[in-house]
Symmetry: C2
Subunit: 104 residues, 2 copies
Amino acid sequence: SRLEESVKKTVASNPVVVYSKSWCSYSSEVKSLFKKLGVEPLVIELDEMGAQGPQVQKLLERLTGQHTVPNVFIGGKHIGGCTDTVKLYRRGELEPLLSEATAK
Amino acid sequence: SRLEESVKKTVASNPVVVYSKSWCSYSSEVKSLFKKLGVEPLVIELDEMGAQGPQVQKLLERLTGQHTVPNVFIGGKHIGGCTDTVKLYRRGELEPLLSEATAK
Ligand SMILES: N[C@@H](CCC(=O)N[C@@H](CS)C(=O)NCC(=O)O)C(=O)O
Ligand SMILES: N[C@@H](CCC(=O)N[C@@H](CS)C(=O)NCC(=O)O)C(=O)O
Ligand code: FES
């Protein structure tokens, strides 16, 4: 579908993408983490897209198996949610992924 | 108003009350913390109350200054949100509050 092509293009052409909800603290946490690491993700607020929001959320579930927000992609690769991202950060694995993705 | 009386009565007559949203991870975190401490809060899921949800959320803002969830009360006293509750726990101040509230 057109929406699916648009989501795939978004995650392929932006080093860091966060599908988020503007009032969600877990979404804020992951956005702050990237900010602290000097990275500016492309943030898509699903609650600010009208009827398309739930459509994109369902599509992401089909593409990634994850139906929750935040939904994080680095270098086109699906990373996971807030806890997954923080876990990678604590293991020292997030920053290498970010360097690689932002270097291209 | 009747709704205000009902909220005031709820927090006065239950040792631990959490106004929550069922799909919110910050709300889940605070519920799990209480569970881990052996306390069973009265949980009110604002997203499961239909039109009353937003009304109660606005009322809580008027009563406590807090418009977000989770909104936590212990022993009738307004504690705050998830971060406030976790902060108290880490300072060793949460459990004494809980003992006092559940002892009555
Ligand atoms: N462990 C996950 C939890 C994700 C989660 O439960 N997200 C909630 C919001 S905090 C959600 O998407 N709920 C359903 C919804 O908002 O549609 C993470 O760290 O991202
Ligand atoms: N620091 C606060 C953050 C509370 C917060 O921002 N809550 C969000 C959900 S995670 C909220 O209520 N957003 C507005 C809404 O859902 O109506 C806490 O720890 O509880
Ligand atoms: S909605 Fe509360 S943490 Fe996501």
